[in-house]
Amino acid sequence: MKKTQLYDFITAGVIYAISIFFLTGSFSIPTPESRIMPRVYAILLIVCATILVLRRLKNKDNDSYDYSGSHIAVTLIAMMAAYVAASHFVGMYVTTPIFLLGSMYFLGMRSWKVLIPVAVGMDVFIYLVFSVVFKVAIPMGVLFGG
């Protein structure tokens, strides 16, 4: 099996899973009219995913995909998720510079003359623009009573 075929099969598999979740979930909706559209969309999705699989099996599509560097993207996703989760506990003013330092270093920045001003400057920017101008309640962290 070609690698590109595999990716389309993974896509189709995820689509099947989502469609089945919505189809089965639609049975618990009390009003029949409210079930119609989700079911129509879920069935259409299943049809599309099936055509995608069939076209791939018959080699009608010859798309080639490039997933190189995806490990960097996945690491960044994990770093962002950790950044947001930690913000709940210690607040965004603490986690933002840490995230910036960590991610900039991870992506290859080694100059402390850049790392420190960017990390600290962003906190000042968040305070002035988001807190003062736009009155956004930036999370202060449950550990600090925020």
């Binding site: 995913a49 993207a73 996703i77």
Partner: protein, 495 residues
Amino acid sequence: MLESLLTVIQPVNLMWIVIGSVVGAIIGALPGLTATMGVALFIPLTFAMEPASGLILLAAVYAAASFGGNITAILIKTPGTPDSFFMVMDGYPMTLKGEGRKAMSVTTITATIGGVVGALTLLFLAPPLASLAIKFGPAQTFLTSMLGITIIIGLSKGAMLKGMLSACLGFLLATVGMDSVAANLRFTGGVLELYEGIPMIPCVIGLFCCAQVFSLAASRKKQIAIPNDAVAGKTGLTLKEFFQHLWITIESSIIGTIVGIIPAAGSMVACGLSYSEARRQSKNPDLFGDGAPDGLAAVSAANNAVVGGSLVPLLTLGIPGNGTAAVFLGGLLIHGMVPGPDLFSQHAEATYSLLFGLIACQFVILVIGLFGAGLFSKVTSIPNSVLVPLIAVFTVLGSFAIRGMLFDVFLMILFGAIGYYAERSRISMAPFVLAFILGPIVEKQFRRAMMLMASGDTGIFTNPLSLFLLALNILCLLTPFINEIKDRMAKKKEA
């Protein structure tokens, strides 16, 4: 109208025009960042603002980002946005000849003219068109919303199946939350944060900004280096040269505006048409592709005229002309402004302010292009190792700002991951976003139409307007199939 004009020239709104234009131009100039991303990133910031100011800011970002891509396209042969591809053809050869400054002057002045023509068309064409929309009932509104989606699916070049898949997924996820007709909770899994549905802004930021951040990181490119002498040449554009290019500029602006009005036709089509027309009319057609100022003028004017044109169907019928306009629709909706005739009556001040703001920002773009090209080209030298984390923080703040929930930020990251995977798998997310935004409207209007039919009004889907819209929907869906069959037959004949 006069009130709106006065609103635009208030210092605070002029400030937003300048900020939006400068940041938009930077976003457009940075290869990898697009106008769609810029608008998506700014929507949360406008939430706390007056609707007029918010929309002016978004319009400035949209217009300036469309222009910003020209800077790097001309100076370093790297289109900042996909739409700036055509600027490379004659702009970069001019830079190589040592006429970088002149090329920047040509693109700036002609883009300004194009932008003004597009905005004026929007100002005068949108209100009468919107008054037509008042005749639309539930069935017609349903079919019109569907039309926007079928057009975008149909134009998912060579990947119509994936376009349909993307749209269906958008529709399906739009059903999460409280059903607007019968008030049933659907697919929330008991999660309180989903009772009002999946929030639109984190979804849009995730798909268009966060996904782009992941792509930039994965690309491993360090930065774009711009030679110091790129903006070279003693003179800009002389008055004589300006008048030589004026006719083709106006003509291309009109082409760009008309193409912009046609949903999903987009900037590439407008630039292509204008370029070939300019070449046809030129006394030196051989110079095209080798540094012809006429060619650069034509594509620059058309590219910026598309912005105003694309907002015509958006403001009047709720049909976005392109992906950026679809995100712009999200910006309108968070301010409670639903496209259609109400926009020009109930929300007249904000709407006309948006239109005047769009004209005003063209003049800021003029200043940026004539005097700031060198500076903007330096901004693009920011290393990706700094740019990527900074944008990542902005996506987090933007998705948090609307409801103040970290849940939304996690959703944004999830949609970012989906967007990244989709981009790599060549699945366009534009149909998804459009279906996600229009999904609730489509379902509500469809069910209202069904109720009317059940109550005996059987003609709502068979009156001439409905039949016309239905035929358009079918035509848009079938066109790619017909084209594919034609291509196959042509290939068979050749064989």
